[in-house]
């Protein structure tokens, strides 16, 4: 597939001797939202974290197979992990703003990557990222306040703004709403709709309604294997695999 943004081929991940991901292959295109669903411990978060090599920070993790970003091997020695992560941003389960001002939280990525030449450039980048994350109107008068003073939902949108600010091509979201209330969750989902098309988005979620609402394609993982991957409407209304059906209908997992 030539239009694949991210492409995984026969990927297996081991933690020590334990196999967490077993021979997963999939393609993710540049203008879609893909949801990963599956029971706890099925490996969907692990797989997500191999896409931007966040598993490198786990001492005994080992990855087999290939992951290509625009055809470049993510795990090749020539791949600079700093550049990779700038291109593949990530939003975590728990909102994790830095102990800095709102402005500094967003400016952090652009400044370490040298994206802004002047203060004016930086102001523009920060405003742009906050606007796209739907947070600008709420925080424009208190950009100097600490990021930790925001509510949970605002913090999560700040983290999305922070990821957007380095202008990534892919955004990985690891259960971004699991620590948020329904209103904040709805706001994030709305945001995902707005961001769709501009970035390839991969979202891990435990909430199947959320997967159905935000994604075009859904991947069902179980026991480290990719059981089924297809159009979200098919997965939820007419799954091919029996296990998918059991999970969707709540009989399993």
């Amino acid at each position: 597939m030539t239009d694949a943004k991210l492409s995984a081929r026969n990927v297996s991940v081991f933690y020590g001797a334990t196999r967490a991901i077993d021979d997963v292959s999939m393609d993710i295109t540049r203008d879609e939202v893909v949801a990963f669903i599956g029971p706890s411990g099925c490996g969907k978060s692990t797989f997500l974290r191999t896409l931007n090599r966040m598993n490198d920070t786990v001492a005994n993790a080992r990855v087999e197979g290939t992951i290509l970003l625009d055809g470049e091997d993510v795990y090749a020695p020539a791949m600079d992990v700093v550049e990779l992560r700038a291109r593949v941003g990530m939003v975590f389960q728990k909102p994790n703003p830095f102990a800095k001002s709102i402005y500094a939280n967003v400016a952090y990525g652009p400044s370490i990557h040298g994206l802004a030449r002047h203060r004016d450039d930086m102001d523009r980048i920060v405003e742009d990222a906050l606007r796209r994350a739907g947070l600008w109107d709420e925080v424009k008068d208190r950009l100097d306040a600490s990021g930790t003073t925001l509510s949970g939902g605002q913090q999560q949108r700040l983290c999305i703004a922070r990821a957007i600010a380095v202008d990534p091509e892919v955004i990985l979201m690891d259960e971004p709403c699991s620590a948020l209330d329904p209103i904040a969750t709805a706001r994030i989902e709305e945001l995902i709709h707005e961001l769709r098309g501009r970035y390839a988005i991969v979202i891990v979620t435990h909430n199947m309604q959320q997967a159905a609402r935000v994604s075009q394609r859904t991947a069902f993982f179980n026991l480290g294997r990719l059981v089924e991957f297809g159009a979200t409407s098919d997965i939820f209304t007419n799954p091919v695999e029996e296990r998918t059906k059991d999970y969707i209908t709540g009989r399993y997992g």
Partner: protein, 457 residues
Amino acid sequence: MTTTGLLFTIVGLALIGWLSARMRAAAFRRPAIQRFGSLPVHHAWVVALWVLGPPLTFLVIWSLTSPALVTDRVLASPLAAALPASAFERASILSDARALAQGSGGVFHPAAVRLAPAYAAAQRHYDWLASAAALILALAGGVFAFVRVSPAFSARWRLENGVVLLLLAAALVAILTTAGIVGSLLYEAARFFAMVPAIDFLTGTRWSPQVIDPADPGASLGALPLFWGTFFIGAIIAMAVALPLGLMSAIYLGQYARPRTRAWAKPALEVLAGIPTVVYGYFAALSVAPRVRDLGLFLGIADASSESALAAGLVMGIMIVPFVSSTADDALRAVPAEMRDGSLALGATPSETIRHVLIPAALPGIAGGVLLAISRAIGETMIVVMAASGVATLTLDPFASTTTVTKQIVDLLTGEAEFDSAKTLAAFALGLVLFAATLLLNVVALVIVKRYREAYE
């Protein structure tokens, strides 16, 4: 009866109480009675505590009050009429007489020799009274508790109360001792400030306690050079060494080192904290100081001293590296892992993450640890006693000889000292200032650390 004999008797009584109460309680244990709240051993301990508690409490209080009672009795005797009127002279004769009555040797005031038999008699009188009272209390407590041994008596809970009292008493001992030390420090310092105006002491720049003009003691007891020297050595030079070394080693060990490296390197670093300060002292005096002086001479500083502030400060800095390092390590580890991941996921390198995210987030914890380290450094004595100078100079030159508060306290209190001269009492005033400074540092540090903990938990 001697004190030891008395104590043995009381403990013996407690043992008897324990055994007899156990026997008495064991007799209740008939098969008919199924529910039995307290076991014989509980009854036994309640009785034993009743035997021990009252007389021991009494003896502790007595030991604090009896010297005054004895002295009063001696003063009331006709022999005491001949004592001089000066309160101070009288106190010194009395203390000689007490020493004599208790059988210590030495040279005594002639009046004390005359007074000694009266003193010994008074002492015997009160000792006898105290022993009798203690034994009566022990017996009374034992009988009171023994009579109450019955199936309905909830000895288990009484014992629980007794344990709580015991724990409370243990905590009180520590608190009261601290209060006593602070009290005596305040008292002696107040005597000092009655002789020397506080303003002279705190802001005067001439410190020469060896020669004190009785008319104006404040003129030669200006402690500002000491405060500066302490601050210069402990807070500036030592921190200039300890802060970068401690912080960087904490970052390496906590963030970069592999578990196996960390497993031996961290304890190795902490060994530094276990080296006796006297060893640091001669290391400073014998190894570091001469080299520092040579360096100073090499740099063209003519008055480079072999008792320089730099030598003492450098070694003190090494000494507190483990404190800075372990508090910094804790503070960095307390930063949530998600924050670190967030930075890495943006494409920051580990060192960028540490510099821009971890250290700012851990800063309050690190600052608290540094303040604690400073308070330790300025209270540190042995290194400066051995390596710093006795001469107080107000200087910014790290190669010049400098002295510290702790070093001067040692100098003031060693050798022949009279405990009513401005010179000796100055040690207490210095101690008070030092205490106040370290207390303040500790409180501020703990408040900072606590706030910071709350922010993440």
